[in-house]
Amino acid sequence: MAQSSKQGLSWPKKLRLFWQTTARSSKWALSLTIVAVVILAVLGRMWMLSEHQNDRAIQKSRIQPVIFVPGSSATIQRFNSLFTTLNSESKSSSGTHSILKVQVNTDGSLSYSGHLSTSSRQPFIVVGFERNQDNYPTVQADAQSLGTVMTDLQSKYHFRNFSAVGHSNGGLIWTDYLENYYSATSFHIKTLMTLGTPFNFSESSTTKKTTMLSDFIDGSDELPSDLTVYSVAGSDDYTDDGTVNVQSVLSGKYIFQKKVAKYTQTTVSGDNAQHSKLPENPEVVNLIRELILDNKSGRPGESANKAKTATP
């Protein structure tokens, strides 16, 4: 009887009856799941939209910035003289490199100055840290902040490829960043150049390894395998550059050798080979021009190869 009365009903009424006779727990479970799926769908779609617009911009981006990190006790103005030299030389050829400076304040906030022109293919970016004491915990903290800065820079300027230069402890910050915070899915670092970077801090003995050097060696498997690294040491008096011991700089080989695609050590000498003046040293300028920038013309008669032979 009930069956025959059910057969006489229209489809919508049958469905309504079916829903009414369904257990309450099933109704609740299904309804809540549908609501959760709808919320997930809306939020997920919004995320996908923003993410893939960004991805597309990154993919199409042609800029490949060179990112500079100064050492301890140095400000974001450390590389001004180097930039002036490089820009004055390149005016006639490929145009100047626009300069953007980012300061990471002690409270973690970022202060931007200068501008980054997407028309210049290899703009310069300086990332400096207000907290810049000469110790390992500071290097670690700054490396973490560098990760934040990189993400922020990418979201603003949509680049994927970049090269890096680190002066003194700046090279340590880059190394820590590459081992712990760098993601090959988001970025591609082509070249890292470290200038007078004390990989074993003030330790001159090659047998004694500081905690930092041991940590870097332990984490070296995380370094990008296609990276090219140049480690430049300054030699003022055959043993150091006035601040950093050459042996400490050369300890970088324990970290990079056989872990990255290419690792080269170079020693520069001369009047401007003191630690603080390394970024202005003509041989260093030439190395940056030849090994990092696309402009390989350089000054006639000066070549990186020549600089490489300038070891004491």
Binding site: T22, S26, A29, L30, V37, A41, G44, W47, H52, D55
Partner: protein, 410 residues
């Protein structure tokens, strides 16, 4: 016509279930369901919250700094996977030998073969252990060696007319031979056989055509029925396929570019044939909610949320789905129906294929909505697929409940 075919299928299913190995295996499966539920929900938490680029933290822009906890959770759930199957192997041995030896008129302590089966499952688990997923042949291999071990125990008992002492030298020697053979077998199985990823294979041109998709959609539930794991190239690692990369590059060059591989495993199979897991089993979980028996509804309730996120493990053990003719047929039908529909709409140009990669753990139900360039059309088509799959499963599920009530599986 349909009713007659269904009756024939049910008859075949009933006959299949009367076989002692199957009957006792299903009893063992059902016994471990509470463990499976805990395991599945632990997996779900890890997948949604703690995996690298997990769905919930990603879309809410939250970064969970619980790497240590996440790694521990992953190890725990991976070990749990192997433990569950070890329990199944042990319980199956117990139920099977109890019944079989009873039929033969022997009274024996089954503890030793139970322990051997448990150890065999764990040994194979340990030799192929990965955090990410179980080996492709794990289930079928473990069940096969367990069955062979059980048979050998029965034959040894029959041959010696039940005169051997339980845990005596002869039985211990049998156990040692079985375990030695298993260890030797594990060491000679090539890793290519036990791996769950076949990127090069699924990147072949065959898988860029509708016929390749349809054949795969039919074969997937059959492979699942036989106990093979579904390759990760069709689920979590689908975006690594060369067709998907080709499409992505084209889209990044020009947003509405003509895609080189509109039909590929990611755009068709992952988004339509695998909603809720192999065989579109989200529809099956929904159907269970509307059944009259409380036990079936409870199974539907527990399996609904995991099925939204494409895990049908609770159903696999609870119904069970594995090696059950009555569930295989709707699984093949639903899988083929979803694939054919998506393939057709892509072919006629109504639907832009799923191209972008999504956060880890994004449900296949929403995959095309998230990652297609025509999201609303994709959502509508997914809705049609889901409703159609529910309609496909419903008559089978009703019969399953009826047969269950009649006591086919005790």
């Amino acid at each position: 016509m349909f009713s007659k075919t269904l009756n024939k299928l049910v008859d075949f299913d009933n006959r299949w279930l009367t076989h002692l190995p199957i009957k006792t295996l299903f009893a063992a499966f059902k016994k471990v369901v509470p463990f499976v539920i805990i395991n599945v929900y632990l997996h779900l938490v890890g997948k949604l919250f703690f995996e690298p680029s997990a769905l919930i933290p990603t879309i809410f822009h939250v970064r969970l700094k619980l790497m240590f906890f996440a790694q521990n959770l992953q190890s725990l759930t991976a070990a749990f996977d192997y433990l569950i199957l070890a329990f199944v192997a042990a319980l199956w041995t117990k139920y099977y030998l109890e019944a079989k030896l009873d039929d033969l008129g022997f009274v024996k302590d089954e503890m030793l073969p139970v322990l051997v089966s448990f150890a065999m499952a764990l040994i194979y688990g340990l030799t192929t252990f990965t955090y990410a997923n179980q080996s492709a042949i794990y289930l079928v291999f473990v069940l096969l060696v367990t069955y062979l071990s059980n048979l050998s125990f029965v034959y040894l008992t029959k041959w010696t007319k039940g005169k051997l002492t339980d845990f005596g030298f002869a039985y211990l020697f049998w156990a040692a031979i079985i375990l030695t053979l298993l260890i030797t077998l594990c060491s000679i199985i090539p890793s290519q056989v036990s791996q769950a990823s076949f990127n090069g294979f699924f990147s072949l041109d065959f898988f860029s055509h509708w016929y390749g998709m349809i054949i795969t959609a039919i074969l997937l539930p059959i492979a699942f029925f036989l106990g093979f794991a579904i390759p990760t190239d069709l689920t979590t690692a689908a975006t690594d396929l060369s067709q998907v990369n080709g499409n992505l590059n084209a889209v990044y060059q020009a947003i509405m570019a003509t895609l080189p591989y509109p039909q590929n495993p990611y755009s068709v199979l992952t988004t339509s044939a695998l909603i809720g897991g192999v065989g579109g089993t989200l529809a099956l979980a929904i159907c269970l909610l509307f059944l009259k028996q409380r036990k079936n509804r409870r199974l539907g309730l527990w399996s609904l949320v995991p099925a939204v996120f494409d895990s049908n493990k609770i159903l696999t053990y609870g119904l069970p789905l594995f090696s059950r003719p009555l569930t295989l047929v709707p699984m093949v039908l639903a899988s083929t129906y979803g694939t054919a529909l998506t393939s057709f709409f892509i072919k006629v140009g109504v639907l832009r294929p799923t191209v972008f990669s999504t956060p880890s753990g994004a449900p296949h139900l929403l995959l095309s909505f998230f990652a297609s360039q025509t999201p609303l059309d994709a959502l509508l088509i997914t809705g049609i697929i889901l409703l159609g799959s529910v309609a496909i499963y419903w008559p089978f599920v009703k019969r399953l409940e009826k047969e269950d009530a009649n006591g086919s599986i005790k």
